[in-house]
Protein backbone atom coordinates (compact mmCIF):
# COMPACT_ATOMS: atom_id res chain seq x y z
CA UNK A 1 0.00 0.00 0.00
CA UNK A 2 1.27 3.41 -0.91
CA UNK A 3 1.82 5.79 1.99
CA UNK A 4 -0.80 8.08 0.47
CA UNK A 5 -3.46 5.41 0.68
CA UNK A 6 -3.17 5.22 4.44
CA UNK A 7 -4.91 8.58 4.61
CA UNK A 8 -8.69 8.45 4.78
CA UNK A 9 -11.39 10.82 5.95
CA UNK A 10 -12.28 14.48 5.74
CA UNK A 11 -11.54 16.85 8.61
CA UNK A 12 -12.82 20.29 9.34
CA UNK A 13 -11.26 22.61 11.89
CA UNK A 14 -14.12 24.37 13.69
CA UNK A 15 -13.95 27.80 15.30
CA UNK A 16 -16.40 29.19 17.78
CA UNK A 17 -17.20 32.47 19.40
CA UNK A 18 -19.58 33.25 22.29
CA UNK A 19 -20.49 29.53 22.55
CA UNK A 20 -21.51 29.40 18.90
CA UNK A 21 -19.82 27.83 15.93
CA UNK A 22 -18.86 30.62 13.53
CA UNK A 23 -20.60 30.81 10.19
CA UNK A 24 -17.45 30.13 8.22
CA UNK A 25 -16.96 26.84 10.05
CA UNK A 26 -20.57 25.79 9.40
CA UNK A 27 -19.95 26.46 5.72
CA UNK A 28 -16.92 24.17 5.92
CA UNK A 29 -19.26 21.49 7.24
CA UNK A 30 -21.38 21.88 4.10
CA UNK A 31 -18.35 21.47 1.88
CA UNK A 32 -16.80 18.76 4.02
CA UNK A 33 -20.02 16.75 4.11
CA UNK A 34 -20.20 16.79 0.33
CA UNK A 35 -16.60 15.67 -0.04
CA UNK A 36 -16.92 12.95 2.59
CA UNK A 37 -20.04 11.55 0.91
CA UNK A 38 -18.31 11.53 -2.44
CA UNK A 39 -15.31 9.70 -1.01
CA UNK A 40 -17.48 7.53 1.20
CA UNK A 41 -15.59 8.40 4.34
CA UNK A 42 -16.44 10.04 7.62
CA UNK A 43 -16.57 13.75 8.17
CA UNK A 44 -14.78 14.63 11.36
CA UNK A 45 -14.65 17.97 13.09
CA UNK A 46 -11.91 19.20 15.36
CA UNK A 47 -12.99 21.37 18.20
CA UNK A 48 -10.65 22.94 20.71
CA UNK A 49 -11.33 25.32 23.54
CA UNK A 50 -12.64 25.47 27.04
CA UNK A 51 -16.15 25.11 28.46
CA UNK A 52 -17.47 24.11 25.07
CA UNK A 53 -20.93 23.17 26.36
CA UNK A 54 -23.26 21.94 23.68
CA UNK A 55 -21.06 22.86 20.70
CA UNK A 56 -20.01 19.25 19.94
CA UNK A 57 -23.66 18.18 19.60
CA UNK A 58 -24.39 21.18 17.43
CA UNK A 59 -21.59 20.15 15.10
CA UNK A 60 -23.19 16.74 14.77
CA UNK A 61 -26.55 18.33 14.02
CA UNK A 62 -24.82 20.25 11.26
CA UNK A 63 -23.37 17.15 9.64
CA UNK A 64 -20.32 15.85 11.53
CA UNK A 65 -19.91 12.10 11.93
CA UNK A 66 -17.19 12.43 14.52
CA UNK A 67 -16.28 15.38 16.69
CA UNK A 68 -12.85 15.36 18.32
CA UNK A 69 -13.08 17.54 21.40
CA UNK A 70 -10.08 18.85 23.25
CA UNK A 71 -11.11 20.92 26.23
CA UNK A 72 -8.61 22.70 28.42
CA UNK A 73 -8.41 26.13 30.06
CA UNK A 74 -5.19 26.76 28.16
CA UNK A 75 -7.17 26.50 24.93
CA UNK A 76 -9.81 29.03 25.92
CA UNK A 77 -8.29 31.62 23.67
CA UNK A 78 -6.28 30.69 20.63
CA UNK A 79 -2.53 30.86 20.70
CA UNK A 80 -0.47 29.20 18.02
CA UNK A 81 1.65 26.64 19.74
CA UNK A 82 -0.82 24.49 21.77
CA UNK A 83 -3.33 24.42 18.92
CA UNK A 84 -0.57 23.62 16.48
CA UNK A 85 0.82 20.84 18.64
CA UNK A 86 -2.53 19.12 19.18
CA UNK A 87 -3.57 19.38 15.57
CA UNK A 88 -0.31 17.98 14.21
CA UNK A 89 -0.39 15.08 16.64
CA UNK A 90 -4.00 14.23 15.86
CA UNK A 91 -3.42 14.39 12.13
CA UNK A 92 -0.35 12.17 12.41
CA UNK A 93 -2.32 9.66 14.41
CA UNK A 94 -5.54 9.60 12.43
CA UNK A 95 -4.25 10.41 8.93
CA UNK A 96 -7.16 12.27 7.37
CA UNK A 97 -6.80 12.82 3.63
CA UNK A 98 -8.30 16.30 3.70
CA UNK A 99 -8.16 19.05 6.36
CA UNK A 100 -10.12 22.25 5.85
CA UNK A 101 -9.85 25.60 7.62
CA UNK A 102 -11.83 28.77 7.25
CA UNK A 103 -9.93 31.84 6.06
CA UNK A 104 -9.96 33.68 9.36
CA UNK A 105 -7.15 35.27 11.34
CA UNK A 106 -6.97 32.09 13.37
CA UNK A 107 -7.11 29.77 10.38
CA UNK A 108 -4.44 31.72 8.55
CA UNK A 109 -2.17 31.70 11.58
CA UNK A 110 -2.58 28.01 12.28
CA UNK A 111 -2.95 26.19 8.96
CA UNK A 112 0.37 27.24 7.36
CA UNK A 113 2.35 26.19 10.40
CA UNK A 114 0.59 22.83 10.58
CA UNK A 115 1.11 22.24 6.86
CA UNK A 116 4.75 23.11 7.33
CA UNK A 117 5.30 20.62 10.13
CA UNK A 118 3.51 17.92 8.13
CA UNK A 119 5.45 18.93 4.99
CA UNK A 120 2.30 19.04 2.98
CA UNK A 121 0.69 21.53 0.64
CA UNK A 122 -1.77 24.20 1.65
CA UNK A 123 -3.90 26.25 -0.69
CA UNK A 124 -5.12 29.69 0.29
CA UNK A 125 -8.42 31.50 -0.10
CA UNK A 126 -10.25 28.64 -1.85
CA UNK A 127 -13.61 29.59 -3.31
CA UNK A 128 -14.63 26.12 -4.41
CA UNK A 129 -13.58 22.55 -3.74
CA UNK A 130 -14.14 19.70 -6.15
CA UNK A 131 -13.09 16.10 -6.10
CA UNK A 132 -11.16 14.03 -8.58
CA UNK A 133 -12.70 10.88 -7.23
CA UNK A 134 -10.54 8.42 -9.04
CA UNK A 135 -7.33 9.80 -7.58
CA UNK A 136 -9.02 11.00 -4.41
CA UNK A 137 -7.47 14.32 -5.24
CA UNK A 138 -8.98 17.51 -3.90
CA UNK A 139 -9.30 20.17 -6.60
CA UNK A 140 -8.73 23.39 -4.71
CA UNK A 141 -10.06 26.33 -6.66
CA UNK A 142 -8.60 29.73 -5.78
CA UNK A 143 -8.83 33.17 -7.33
CA UNK A 144 -5.91 33.71 -9.66
CA UNK A 145 -6.03 37.42 -10.52
CA UNK A 146 -8.99 37.78 -12.91
CA UNK A 147 -9.00 34.01 -13.39
CA UNK A 148 -9.36 30.93 -11.27
CA UNK A 149 -6.69 28.34 -10.63
CA UNK A 150 -7.04 24.72 -9.66
CA UNK A 151 -4.44 23.70 -7.14
CA UNK A 152 -3.74 20.11 -6.17
CA UNK A 153 -1.47 18.63 -3.54
CA UNK A 154 0.53 15.47 -4.10
CA UNK A 155 1.20 14.89 -0.42
CA UNK A 156 -1.29 14.03 2.32
CA UNK A 157 -3.23 15.40 4.00
CA UNK A 158 -4.48 17.88 1.45
CA UNK A 159 -5.00 21.14 3.27
CA UNK A 160 -6.97 24.21 2.25
CA UNK A 161 -8.21 27.44 3.75
CA UNK A 162 -11.63 28.33 2.44
CA UNK A 163 -13.12 31.80 1.96
CA UNK A 164 -16.14 32.41 4.15
CA UNK A 165 -19.39 33.17 2.34
CA UNK A 166 -18.85 30.90 -0.65
CA UNK A 167 -21.58 28.49 0.35
CA UNK A 168 -24.44 28.31 2.83
CA UNK A 169 -24.32 26.54 6.19
CA UNK A 170 -25.94 23.11 6.13
CA UNK A 171 -29.45 22.58 7.47
CA UNK A 172 -29.45 21.86 11.18
CA UNK A 173 -30.94 18.48 11.95
CA UNK A 174 -31.13 17.68 15.65
CA UNK A 175 -32.02 14.07 14.98
CA UNK A 176 -28.58 13.42 13.46
CA UNK A 177 -26.38 10.99 15.32
CA UNK A 178 -22.63 11.13 15.61
CA UNK A 179 -19.74 10.31 17.81
CA UNK A 180 -17.99 12.66 20.20
CA UNK A 181 -14.40 11.70 20.96
CA UNK A 182 -12.83 13.50 23.87
CA UNK A 183 -9.06 13.51 23.52
CA UNK A 184 -6.81 14.00 26.51
CA UNK A 185 -3.58 15.85 25.92
CA UNK A 186 -0.84 17.05 28.13
CA UNK A 187 -0.98 20.66 27.07
CA UNK A 188 1.80 23.20 27.53
CA UNK A 189 0.76 26.84 27.59
CA UNK A 190 3.19 27.61 24.81
CA UNK A 191 5.47 30.50 24.12
CA UNK A 192 2.92 33.27 23.65
CA UNK A 193 1.07 34.99 26.45
CA UNK A 194 -2.03 37.04 25.82
CA UNK A 195 -1.90 40.14 27.98
CA UNK A 196 -4.81 42.19 26.74
CA UNK A 197 -7.78 42.00 24.42
CA UNK A 198 -9.69 45.09 23.44
CA UNK A 199 -12.67 45.38 21.15
CA UNK A 200 -12.07 47.41 18.01
CA UNK A 201 -13.72 50.76 18.06
CA UNK A 202 -15.49 50.91 14.74
CA UNK A 203 -14.86 54.40 13.47
CA UNK A 204 -17.08 53.57 10.59
CA UNK A 205 -20.64 53.53 11.88
CA UNK A 206 -22.16 51.96 8.79
CA UNK A 207 -21.57 48.23 8.68
CA UNK A 208 -21.44 47.14 5.08
CA UNK A 209 -21.84 43.50 6.10
CA UNK A 210 -25.32 44.36 7.35
CA UNK A 211 -26.47 46.66 4.57
CA UNK A 212 -29.32 45.72 2.24
CA UNK A 213 -28.01 47.80 -0.61
CA UNK A 214 -24.37 48.37 -1.51
CA UNK A 215 -23.08 50.66 -4.20
CA UNK A 216 -19.55 49.42 -4.79
CA UNK A 217 -16.91 51.52 -6.44
CA UNK A 218 -13.97 50.39 -8.54
CA UNK A 219 -11.23 52.08 -10.49
CA UNK A 220 -13.58 52.85 -13.37
CA UNK A 221 -15.37 55.53 -11.38
CA UNK A 222 -13.54 58.81 -11.08
CA UNK A 223 -16.08 60.84 -9.13
CA UNK A 224 -16.95 59.41 -5.73
CA UNK A 225 -19.82 61.88 -5.30
CA UNK A 226 -21.84 60.12 -8.00
CA UNK A 227 -21.69 56.85 -6.09
CA UNK A 228 -22.61 58.63 -2.87
CA UNK A 229 -25.65 60.13 -4.49
CA UNK A 230 -26.77 56.81 -5.93
CA UNK A 231 -26.30 55.15 -2.55
CA UNK A 232 -28.37 57.81 -0.83
CA UNK A 233 -31.19 57.50 -3.38
CA UNK A 234 -31.21 53.74 -2.80
CA UNK A 235 -30.82 54.00 0.95
CA UNK A 236 -27.63 52.00 0.67
CA UNK A 237 -24.01 52.31 1.66
CA UNK A 238 -20.76 52.57 -0.24
CA UNK A 239 -18.36 49.67 -0.68
CA UNK A 240 -15.15 49.49 -2.68
CA UNK A 241 -12.44 47.39 -4.24
CA UNK A 242 -8.96 47.30 -2.78
CA UNK A 243 -7.38 49.88 -5.11
CA UNK A 244 -10.00 52.43 -4.04
CA UNK A 245 -9.43 51.97 -0.31
CA UNK A 246 -5.69 51.82 -0.84
CA UNK A 247 -5.81 55.12 -2.64
CA UNK A 248 -7.55 56.47 0.45
CA UNK A 249 -10.75 57.33 -1.44
CA UNK A 250 -12.81 55.28 1.01
CA UNK A 251 -12.03 53.84 4.43
CA UNK A 252 -10.51 50.38 4.65
CA UNK A 253 -13.65 49.18 6.44
CA UNK A 254 -15.40 49.48 3.06
CA UNK A 255 -13.14 47.06 1.25
CA UNK A 256 -14.98 44.06 -0.17
CA UNK A 257 -13.22 40.87 -1.17
CA UNK A 258 -10.54 38.40 -0.23
CA UNK A 259 -8.68 40.68 2.16
CA UNK A 260 -11.72 42.79 3.00
CA UNK A 261 -15.28 42.01 3.90
CA UNK A 262 -17.64 39.38 2.60
CA UNK A 263 -21.04 40.90 1.92
CA UNK A 264 -24.45 39.58 0.93
CA UNK A 265 -26.77 42.54 0.43
CA UNK A 266 -30.09 42.23 -1.35
CA UNK A 267 -28.86 44.59 -4.05
CA UNK A 268 -25.27 45.11 -5.14
CA UNK A 269 -24.38 47.68 -7.75
CA UNK A 270 -20.82 47.35 -9.07
CA UNK A 271 -19.71 50.67 -10.57
CA UNK A 272 -16.60 50.51 -12.71
CA UNK A 273 -15.42 47.26 -11.16
CA UNK A 274 -13.74 44.81 -13.51
CA UNK A 275 -14.26 41.90 -11.17
CA UNK A 276 -10.92 40.42 -10.18
CA UNK A 277 -11.35 37.07 -8.43
CA UNK A 278 -10.21 38.65 -5.17
CA UNK A 279 -13.16 41.04 -5.28
CA UNK A 280 -15.74 38.59 -6.57
CA UNK A 281 -15.31 36.22 -3.64
CA UNK A 282 -16.52 39.02 -1.40
CA UNK A 283 -19.77 39.82 -3.16
CA UNK A 284 -20.87 36.96 -5.40
CA UNK A 285 -23.58 35.77 -3.05
CA UNK A 286 -25.44 39.06 -3.05
CA UNK A 287 -29.13 38.96 -3.96
CA UNK A 288 -29.37 40.96 -7.15
CA UNK A 289 -26.17 42.14 -8.76
CA UNK A 290 -26.00 45.01 -11.24
CA UNK A 291 -22.71 45.65 -13.03
CA UNK A 292 -21.76 48.79 -14.92
CA UNK A 293 -18.49 48.69 -16.85
CA UNK A 294 -17.13 49.98 -20.14
CA UNK A 295 -15.59 46.62 -21.01
CA UNK A 296 -18.24 44.09 -21.93
CA UNK A 297 -15.70 41.30 -21.41
CA UNK A 298 -15.11 42.32 -17.80
CA UNK A 299 -15.41 39.28 -15.51
CA UNK A 300 -17.86 41.14 -13.26
CA UNK A 301 -20.63 40.45 -15.79
CA UNK A 302 -20.22 36.75 -15.12
CA UNK A 303 -21.59 37.14 -11.64
CA UNK A 304 -24.14 39.84 -12.44
CA UNK A 305 -27.88 39.66 -13.03
CA UNK A 306 -27.98 42.93 -14.94
CA UNK A 307 -25.17 44.25 -17.08
CA UNK A 308 -24.74 47.72 -18.51
CA UNK A 309 -21.84 48.35 -20.88
CA UNK A 310 -21.12 52.02 -20.57
CA UNK A 311 -19.38 54.82 -18.80
CA UNK A 312 -20.42 54.79 -15.14
CA UNK A 313 -20.16 58.55 -14.87
CA UNK A 314 -22.97 58.80 -17.45
CA UNK A 315 -25.01 55.78 -16.38
CA UNK A 316 -25.26 56.69 -12.71
CA UNK A 317 -26.82 60.14 -13.18
CA UNK A 318 -29.40 58.65 -15.57
CA UNK A 319 -30.13 55.86 -13.14
CA UNK A 320 -30.56 58.32 -10.30
CA UNK A 321 -33.06 60.25 -12.43
CA UNK A 322 -35.03 57.08 -13.25
CA UNK A 323 -35.04 55.95 -9.64
CA UNK A 324 -36.30 59.31 -8.43
CA UNK A 325 -38.96 59.50 -11.18
Amino acid sequence: MKEMDRYRGVWVFAEWKDSQVIKGSLELLSLGRGLADELQVELSVLLMGDRLGGIPEELIYYGADVVYVIENPILERYTTSPYHRILCDLIRENKPEIVLFSTTHLGMDLAPRVACELKTGLSAHCVDLKMDKENRQLLQICPYFDYMATIVTDTRPQMATVQPGITSPPRRDDSRQGKTVRVEFKIEPGDIKIVEVEAKKEEDTEKIEEADVIVAVGRGLKDMRLAEELASVLGGVLGATQPITEAGLLQESRMIGQTGKIVQPKLYIACGISGAGQHIVGMQNSGTIVAINTDEKAPIFKVADYGIVGDVSKVIPALIESLKG
Partner: protein, 258 residues
Protein backbone atom coordinates in the same frame (compact mmCIF):
# COMPACT_ATOMS: atom_id res chain seq x y z
CA UNK B 1 19.79 42.98 18.27
CA UNK B 2 19.98 41.43 14.83
CA UNK B 3 16.85 41.62 12.74
CA UNK B 4 15.99 39.86 9.50
CA UNK B 5 13.34 41.22 7.18
CA UNK B 6 11.94 38.94 4.48
CA UNK B 7 11.36 40.99 1.36
CA UNK B 8 9.61 39.86 -1.78
CA UNK B 9 9.74 41.72 -5.07
CA UNK B 10 6.33 42.12 -6.66
CA UNK B 11 5.35 43.75 -9.97
CA UNK B 12 4.52 47.42 -9.54
CA UNK B 13 1.28 46.85 -11.33
CA UNK B 14 -0.78 43.67 -11.63
CA UNK B 15 -1.36 43.10 -15.35
CA UNK B 16 -2.88 39.92 -16.64
CA UNK B 17 -2.32 38.17 -19.91
CA UNK B 18 -5.94 38.09 -21.00
CA UNK B 19 -5.65 34.91 -23.00
CA UNK B 20 -3.63 32.83 -20.57
CA UNK B 21 -4.67 34.39 -17.31
CA UNK B 22 -1.07 34.58 -16.16
CA UNK B 23 0.65 37.49 -14.49
CA UNK B 24 2.65 39.69 -16.86
CA UNK B 25 6.06 40.33 -15.34
CA UNK B 26 7.97 41.32 -18.48
CA UNK B 27 8.52 45.01 -18.78
CA UNK B 28 6.80 45.73 -15.50
CA UNK B 29 9.01 47.18 -12.85
CA UNK B 30 9.55 45.15 -9.71
CA UNK B 31 9.09 46.90 -6.39
CA UNK B 32 9.24 45.93 -2.74
CA UNK B 33 6.02 44.22 -1.65
CA UNK B 34 4.04 46.97 0.15
CA UNK B 35 3.77 45.28 3.59
CA UNK B 36 7.46 44.38 3.45
CA UNK B 37 8.25 48.07 3.28
CA UNK B 38 6.38 48.42 6.56
CA UNK B 39 8.45 45.56 7.94
CA UNK B 40 11.67 47.31 6.89
CA UNK B 41 10.46 50.56 8.42
CA UNK B 42 9.74 48.74 11.68
CA UNK B 43 13.18 47.14 11.65
CA UNK B 44 14.84 50.51 11.14
CA UNK B 45 12.93 52.18 13.97
CA UNK B 46 13.76 49.25 16.25
CA UNK B 47 17.39 49.49 15.28
CA UNK B 48 17.42 53.21 15.98
CA UNK B 49 16.25 52.41 19.49
CA UNK B 50 17.98 49.15 20.32
CA UNK B 51 20.91 48.99 17.90
CA UNK B 52 21.89 45.87 16.00
CA UNK B 53 22.09 44.87 12.41
CA UNK B 54 19.32 44.51 9.81
CA UNK B 55 19.58 41.88 7.08
CA UNK B 56 17.14 41.72 4.20
CA UNK B 57 16.50 38.25 2.85
CA UNK B 58 14.78 37.59 -0.43
CA UNK B 59 14.31 34.83 -2.93
CA UNK B 60 13.78 35.78 -6.53
CA UNK B 61 15.36 36.57 -9.91
CA UNK B 62 18.54 38.59 -10.36
CA UNK B 63 16.85 41.95 -10.79
CA UNK B 64 15.63 41.76 -7.20
CA UNK B 65 19.02 43.23 -6.37
CA UNK B 66 17.82 46.72 -7.25
CA UNK B 67 14.74 46.26 -5.16
CA UNK B 68 16.92 45.21 -2.26
CA UNK B 69 19.06 48.32 -2.72
CA UNK B 70 15.90 50.31 -2.11
CA UNK B 71 15.47 48.43 1.18
CA UNK B 72 19.10 49.07 2.08
CA UNK B 73 18.55 52.75 1.36
CA UNK B 74 15.72 52.73 3.87
CA UNK B 75 18.25 51.73 6.49
CA UNK B 76 18.97 48.00 6.37
CA UNK B 77 22.61 46.99 6.68
CA UNK B 78 23.00 44.11 4.27
CA UNK B 79 20.98 41.93 1.96
CA UNK B 80 20.98 38.31 0.94
CA UNK B 81 19.38 37.21 -2.30
CA UNK B 82 18.66 33.56 -2.98
CA UNK B 83 18.88 33.49 -6.72
CA UNK B 84 18.87 30.19 -8.52
CA UNK B 85 16.88 28.70 -11.36
CA UNK B 86 16.18 25.60 -9.33
CA UNK B 87 14.32 27.76 -6.80
CA UNK B 88 11.82 29.00 -9.39
CA UNK B 89 8.21 27.91 -9.17
CA UNK B 90 8.34 27.44 -5.41
CA UNK B 91 5.13 27.24 -3.47
CA UNK B 92 4.95 28.67 0.01
CA UNK B 93 6.49 25.66 1.70
CA UNK B 94 9.53 25.63 -0.56
CA UNK B 95 9.82 29.41 -0.31
CA UNK B 96 9.75 29.30 3.47
CA UNK B 97 12.30 26.50 3.57
CA UNK B 98 14.79 28.43 1.47
CA UNK B 99 14.30 31.63 3.47
CA UNK B 100 14.67 29.80 6.78
CA UNK B 101 17.84 28.11 5.59
CA UNK B 102 19.43 31.50 4.96
CA UNK B 103 18.24 32.93 8.25
CA UNK B 104 19.80 30.00 10.14
CA UNK B 105 23.14 30.85 8.59
CA UNK B 106 23.07 34.41 9.90
CA UNK B 107 24.51 35.26 13.31
CA UNK B 108 22.32 35.53 16.33
CA UNK B 109 19.07 36.61 14.69
CA UNK B 110 16.64 37.73 17.38
CA UNK B 111 13.74 38.95 15.34
CA UNK B 112 12.42 38.00 11.90
CA UNK B 113 9.93 40.35 10.27
CA UNK B 114 7.65 39.53 7.35
CA UNK B 115 4.78 41.28 5.67
CA UNK B 116 1.32 39.96 6.37
CA UNK B 117 0.87 39.12 2.70
CA UNK B 118 2.19 39.88 -0.76
CA UNK B 119 0.45 41.99 -3.38
CA UNK B 120 0.80 39.40 -6.13
CA UNK B 121 -0.19 36.08 -4.60
CA UNK B 122 -0.97 36.98 -1.00
CA UNK B 123 -1.31 33.56 0.57
CA UNK B 124 -0.15 34.83 4.01
CA UNK B 125 1.58 31.47 4.52
CA UNK B 126 5.23 32.34 4.36
CA UNK B 127 5.59 34.06 7.75
CA UNK B 128 4.22 31.22 9.89
CA UNK B 129 6.07 28.65 7.80
CA UNK B 130 9.43 30.37 8.16
CA UNK B 131 8.76 30.56 11.92
CA UNK B 132 8.12 26.84 11.99
CA UNK B 133 11.31 25.99 10.15
CA UNK B 134 13.22 28.19 12.56
CA UNK B 135 11.41 26.66 15.52
CA UNK B 136 10.44 30.04 16.95
CA UNK B 137 7.10 31.58 17.90
CA UNK B 138 5.16 33.57 15.35
CA UNK B 139 3.06 36.63 16.03
CA UNK B 140 0.91 37.54 13.05
CA UNK B 141 -1.08 40.64 11.99
CA UNK B 142 0.93 42.99 14.18
CA UNK B 143 0.08 46.72 14.28
CA UNK B 144 2.35 47.69 17.10
CA UNK B 145 5.54 46.17 18.39
CA UNK B 146 7.71 46.92 21.39
CA UNK B 147 10.86 45.22 22.52
CA UNK B 148 11.10 44.82 26.28
CA UNK B 149 14.35 43.17 27.26
CA UNK B 150 14.32 39.68 25.85
CA UNK B 151 10.61 39.81 25.09
CA UNK B 152 8.40 41.40 22.51
CA UNK B 153 5.05 42.94 23.20
CA UNK B 154 2.90 42.95 20.08
CA UNK B 155 -0.57 44.21 19.31
CA UNK B 156 -2.36 41.99 16.81
CA UNK B 157 -5.11 43.35 14.59
CA UNK B 158 -7.86 40.77 14.37
CA UNK B 159 -11.39 40.89 12.98
CA UNK B 160 -13.27 42.66 15.74
CA UNK B 161 -10.54 43.08 18.31
CA UNK B 162 -6.96 43.87 19.09
CA UNK B 163 -5.03 41.26 21.00
CA UNK B 164 -1.83 42.18 22.77
CA UNK B 165 0.58 39.33 23.35
CA UNK B 166 4.02 38.78 24.76
CA UNK B 167 6.52 36.36 23.34
CA UNK B 168 10.14 35.58 24.05
CA UNK B 169 12.88 36.30 21.54
CA UNK B 170 13.80 35.04 19.04
CA UNK B 171 10.43 35.38 17.33
CA UNK B 172 8.89 36.03 13.95
CA UNK B 173 6.40 38.82 13.43
CA UNK B 174 4.22 39.55 10.41
CA UNK B 175 3.12 43.15 10.08
CA UNK B 176 0.04 44.79 8.61
CA UNK B 177 0.21 47.93 6.54
CA UNK B 178 -1.21 50.19 9.22
CA UNK B 179 1.77 49.65 11.53
CA UNK B 180 3.72 52.63 10.23
CA UNK B 181 4.40 54.92 7.31
CA UNK B 182 7.49 53.62 5.51
CA UNK B 183 10.15 56.24 5.00
CA UNK B 184 11.29 57.30 1.59
CA UNK B 185 15.06 57.11 1.29
CA UNK B 186 16.86 60.35 0.56
CA UNK B 187 19.32 60.86 -2.27
CA UNK B 188 22.26 60.29 0.05
CA UNK B 189 20.65 57.16 1.51
CA UNK B 190 20.51 55.70 -1.98
CA UNK B 191 24.22 56.28 -2.56
CA UNK B 192 25.11 54.99 0.89
CA UNK B 193 23.03 51.88 0.21
CA UNK B 194 24.93 50.89 -2.87
CA UNK B 195 28.06 50.60 -0.74
CA UNK B 196 26.38 48.01 1.46
CA UNK B 197 26.73 44.31 0.76
CA UNK B 198 24.23 42.29 -1.22
CA UNK B 199 25.19 38.62 -1.14
CA UNK B 200 23.87 36.49 -3.91
CA UNK B 201 23.60 32.86 -2.96
CA UNK B 202 22.62 29.93 -5.11
CA UNK B 203 21.02 26.74 -3.85
CA UNK B 204 24.37 24.99 -3.64
CA UNK B 205 25.92 27.74 -1.51
CA UNK B 206 23.15 27.12 0.97
CA UNK B 207 23.36 23.35 0.79
CA UNK B 208 19.82 23.22 -0.57
CA UNK B 209 19.01 20.08 -2.51
CA UNK B 210 17.06 20.27 -5.74
CA UNK B 211 14.11 18.33 -4.33
CA UNK B 212 13.80 20.73 -1.38
CA UNK B 213 13.33 23.89 -3.41
CA UNK B 214 11.53 25.24 -6.45
CA UNK B 215 8.94 23.15 -8.21
CA UNK B 216 10.37 19.89 -6.94
CA UNK B 217 10.23 20.98 -3.33
CA UNK B 218 6.65 22.18 -3.65
CA UNK B 219 3.81 19.89 -2.63
CA UNK B 220 1.21 22.07 -4.37
CA UNK B 221 0.78 22.29 -8.11
CA UNK B 222 -1.41 24.49 -10.25
CA UNK B 223 -3.08 22.15 -12.73
CA UNK B 224 -5.35 24.57 -14.50
CA UNK B 225 -5.96 28.27 -14.91
CA UNK B 226 -9.36 29.16 -16.29
CA UNK B 227 -11.74 32.05 -16.70
CA UNK B 228 -14.42 31.90 -14.04
CA UNK B 229 -17.64 30.50 -15.43
CA UNK B 230 -20.72 32.63 -15.44
CA UNK B 231 -22.45 32.15 -12.12
CA UNK B 232 -25.60 33.89 -13.23
CA UNK B 233 -27.48 34.63 -16.39
CA UNK B 234 -26.55 38.25 -16.97
CA UNK B 235 -29.23 40.31 -18.69
CA UNK B 236 -27.34 42.83 -20.79
CA UNK B 237 -29.30 46.06 -21.00
CA UNK B 238 -28.96 47.79 -24.32
CA UNK B 239 -30.27 50.95 -25.86
CA UNK B 240 -30.02 54.59 -24.90
CA UNK B 241 -28.81 55.40 -21.41
CA UNK B 242 -32.28 56.73 -20.54
CA UNK B 243 -34.00 53.51 -21.69
CA UNK B 244 -31.50 51.33 -19.88
CA UNK B 245 -31.78 53.19 -16.62
CA UNK B 246 -35.56 53.39 -16.63
CA UNK B 247 -35.94 49.68 -17.39
CA UNK B 248 -33.43 48.82 -14.67
CA UNK B 249 -35.15 51.15 -12.21
CA UNK B 250 -38.48 49.49 -12.99
CA UNK B 251 -37.09 45.99 -12.54
CA UNK B 252 -35.50 46.90 -9.24
CA UNK B 253 -38.73 48.52 -8.07
CA UNK B 254 -40.81 45.51 -9.07
CA UNK B 255 -38.45 43.24 -7.14
CA UNK B 256 -38.97 45.44 -4.11
CA UNK B 257 -35.30 46.35 -3.97
CA UNK B 258 -35.87 50.07 -4.06
Amino acid sequence: MNIVVCVKQVPQEIRINKTKGTLIRDGIKGVINPCDKNAIELAVTLKEKHGGKITLVSMGPKDVENTLTHGLAMGADQAVLICDRVCAGADTLATAFALATVIKKLDDVQLVLCGKETADSGTQHVGPQVAHYLGIPQVTYVVNLLIEGSKIRAKRQLKDEYETVEAGLPALVTVVKGINEPRMPTYLDIYEASKKDTHKWCAEDLGLKEDEVGIQGSPTRITKVFAPEAKRECKMLRGSIEDISSSLANDLKSKGLV
